[in-house]
Symmetry: C2
Subunit: 149 residues, 2 copies
């Protein structure tokens, strides 16, 4: 019985397509959709500024900006769920995308993960983006539905 579907999104085209598919299938299954956006901490802590020189007033606005963007992505999918009478929850975390997706899937007892084949940072040539690849690789039990962009 599929009762909970995790839909990670980074706002990419494939993620949007995956979300639309997820809402359709959740409606048919009467399942709960958990929309997750992970703010990739690596994207703003990668710069190796010596800690004493870290310009917090520069670092923080980047995180704020990414958080706002994430709220936008998950909000759009939540709206789509509402419009289709699909129950949904939104979750935003800051961390490592693969680890956070797997953690949230397990925490929420998701029976399925629906995600795009390629996220924003993926090379077009790769069959799977690194996050989708990582989730399939790491993830041991929950099936992953891959939606091509």
């Amino acid at each position: 019985m599929i009762s909970t579907i995790l839909v990670p999104t980074d706002g990419s085209r494939a993620a949007q397509k995956a979300a639309m598919y997820a809402v359709d299938i959740a409606k048919q299954l009467k399942a709960l959709v958990i929309v997750l956006s992970v703010i990739d901490k690596r994207s703003f802590t990668g710069q190796t500024v010596p800690s004493t020189e870290t310009a917090r007033h520069v670092i923080e606005p980047i995180e704020d900006y990414l958080k706002e963007a994430a709220e936008g992505y998950v909000g759009e999918i939540k709206k789509l769920c509402d419009k289709n009478g699909v129950q949904s929850k939104t979750v935003i975390t800051a961390g490592h995308p693969v680890k956070d997706i797997v953690k949230e899937a397990s925490r929420a007892k998701a029976n399925m993960i629906i995600m795009g084949s390629h996220g924003k940072s993926a090379l077009a040539a790769a069959v799977l983006g690194s996050v989708t690849y990582g989730v399939i690789h790491k993830e041991t039990k929950i099936p992953v539905l891959v939606v091509r962009r």
Copy 2:
């Protein structure tokens, strides 16, 4: 609306696990399951025996053997469908697994392909077996649900 699910099988453990998951979800979705087994032609035409020397009486029994095995795999899944009140059809082809899976998905107008992460011939270390990888890569429209072994 998910109405048709393609379930390719090569009798591997991951394929069996994928099939069980597929029957569950098809039951919930009231979808038709198409069980497909592709006899991999490469596995018995790879030997480059000069055509005049081809021992047809040797080649044919291999194909017969593979066909019998395929009938066994699809038959088991069909039984599982019957037991769960899920409508199903079985298809056996001889050709290239990736091409035949994509062709059958398109022919049957499948809305979803559910398959194991690794088939029989896959290297354990790879994240995806070559057939699953190939289907995700080739396949342009139909989402692929990957079930880990």
